[in-house]
């Protein structure tokens, strides 16, 4: 795979390449279609490119556009081709493509290293390589080879991955509503009628749970990944709790967005893993699951401890723990044990309704 024309991002160890791409950003002229729109070309779509897009869409990889073009004309052509639904947060204008890519990453709330960029122009590929080197670059002539790279191959495909584009689309409708909302942020959150549901993990949750351990970076307490089988074993143990969280609001469902893995002891419980999808960070629910686990531990007469590993990407989780009243009690390099001050009150998010299932043993 090291021909001169194959363009890649920075070298990444194989283990980290698999399923790394969450969104592919496409050029239009001479990439998605043949010819140059503003030069009056017919711009017939390249069926093999659309096939790639539809395939990646079906396994949960999102798509966007970075095109130097007239926005209205390009969108009209995409509408004629019936392709507009496939693309989220398209950037069509005259700004540098690196800037478009950064905006797309910010709109989707994903890292630059989760983005692949496809273009036919060496200049654009080089500009992106220079300004945002984390992005995986693909020359469109190499597309057929590139989609076989592990970066484009999710570890597995769940119901959530198949619905991912629809969920992100709902998300942008929400974002629009938020921009137009006149009150404070808290008033807006209250207007969403959010329902946060926490249940014990059943077998049907485990694929998504495994996926969450792989895909979540910012609000992830250890970065440790767990396989389906590991989670299935943990799920039925009496001395462990495996909780999954989901969120809905007036616009629809965000899907399963949180996971907590707890080892229960007599004096203290250890929260081995806590994570929350980047999809819900802006909804102010990052602490709801943590507070729920704290409450369960307290009701059991135990203090809550939490494992934390600095991964270089999860400072938001570190800050979340700090602001939830956790302090460091032990450290070994970048591995930390935190403990919550038992005297602190447990505030409740006034704008979220919490629904939980009763404590019980999971059924094998």
């Amino acid at each position: 795979m090291t021909t001169d024309s194959a363009v890649r991002g920075p070298e990444v160890p194989d283990a980290h390449r698999r399923g790394r791409v969450k969104c592919v950003v496409w050029d239009l002229d001479n990439t998605l279609w043949n010819g140059v729109l503003l030069e009056g070309d017919a711009c017939d779509v390249r069926p093999e490119v659309v096939e790639v897009i539809r395939h990646l869409d079906s396994v949960g990889i999102l798509h966007s556009i970075a095109s130097k073009n007239d926005r209205a004309a390009a969108w009209q052509r995409l509408t004629e081709l019936g392709l507009t639904d496939l693309f989220l947060h398209p950037e069509i204008g005259w700004q540098p493509k690196s800037e478009s890519i950064q905006r797309i990453a910010a709109s989707l709330n994903i890292g630059l290293d989760a983005i692949a960029f496809v273009d036919d122009q060496p200049f654009e590929l080089a500009e992106v390589a220079y300004a945002v080197p984390e992005v995986l670059r693909v020359d469109v002539v190499d597309l057929a080879d590139a989609i076989r790279w592990p970066e484009f191959e999710p570890r597995f495909v769940t119901e959530e991955s198949r619905n991912r584009r629809e969920m992100y689309r709902t998300q942008s409708v929400r974002a629009e509503a938020e921009r137009e909302f006149a009150g404070t942020n808290e008033d807006f959150l209250r207007s969403l009628d959010m329902v946060f549901t926490i249940v014990h993990a059943e077998r049907e949750h485990l694929q998504r749970a495994e996926e969450l351990t792989l895909r979540t970076n910012q609000l992830n307490s250890t970065g440790r990944t767990y396989s389906y089988d590991e989670l299935d074993a943990i799920r039925v143990r009496d001395d462990h709790l495996l909780l999954v969280a989901s969120l809905t609001d007036t616009f629809g469902s965000y899907g399963t967005i949180g996971l907590a893995l707890v080892e229960k002891g007599d004096l203290h419980w250890d929260l081995r893993l806590l994570l929350m999808s980047c999809r819900v960070v802006s909804r102010g629910v990052g602490m709801v699951l943590l507070n729920h686990v704290t409450r369960l531990a307290r009701d059991d007469g135990a203090t809550l401890r939490a494992d934390f590993v600095e991964t270089g990407r999860n400072r938001m989780m570190q800050v979340t723990y700090a602001f939830a009243g956790f302090r460091e009690i032990a450290r070994d390099g970048d591995r930390v044990v935190l403990e919550r001050d038992a005297d602190l009150e447990l505030p409740e998010a006034s704008y979220v309704r919490l629904v939980t299932d009763p404590i019980r043993t999971a059924t094998p």
């Binding site: 802006s282 400072r315 800050v319 700090a322 602001f323």
Partner: protein, 98 residues
């Protein structure tokens, strides 16, 4: 670390940030902002990122404790401590107001 800003300027900026986030409240420099209601991860992160920009330095892990962020006074003392490279000092008192 930035030596451009005086303590007074730091205090003013922190005060303005907090006032912007709680527009309906009158907040004194010693008021406990977390007693005003629920804090979410996003606000916590925004506060930390804002302070690091104003301070011109990363807040060290051992200082990432809720008590250091309870009030404008506490955040200013955190800055003073970071600037002098000192260890955690006595915390300024906070008023738990309604």
């Amino acid at each position: 670390m930035s030596s451009e800003l005086t303590l007074t300027e730091i205090r003013t900026q922190v005060r303005e940030f907090i006032a912007g986030r709680y527009p309906q409240q009158e907040i004194a420099d010693h008021d406990d902002i977390f007693a005003l209601g629920y804090v979410n991860s996003l606000f916590a992160m925004e506060l930390v990122v804002f302070l690091e920009k104003v301070f011109g330095a990363t807040i060290p892990n051992q200082e990432l404790q809720i008590d250091n962020f309870r009030s404008v006074d506490r955040m200013v003392s955190l800055f003073e401590r970071m600037r002098s490279g000192g260890s955690p000092a006595e915390a300024a008192p906070v008023a738990v107001s309604g």
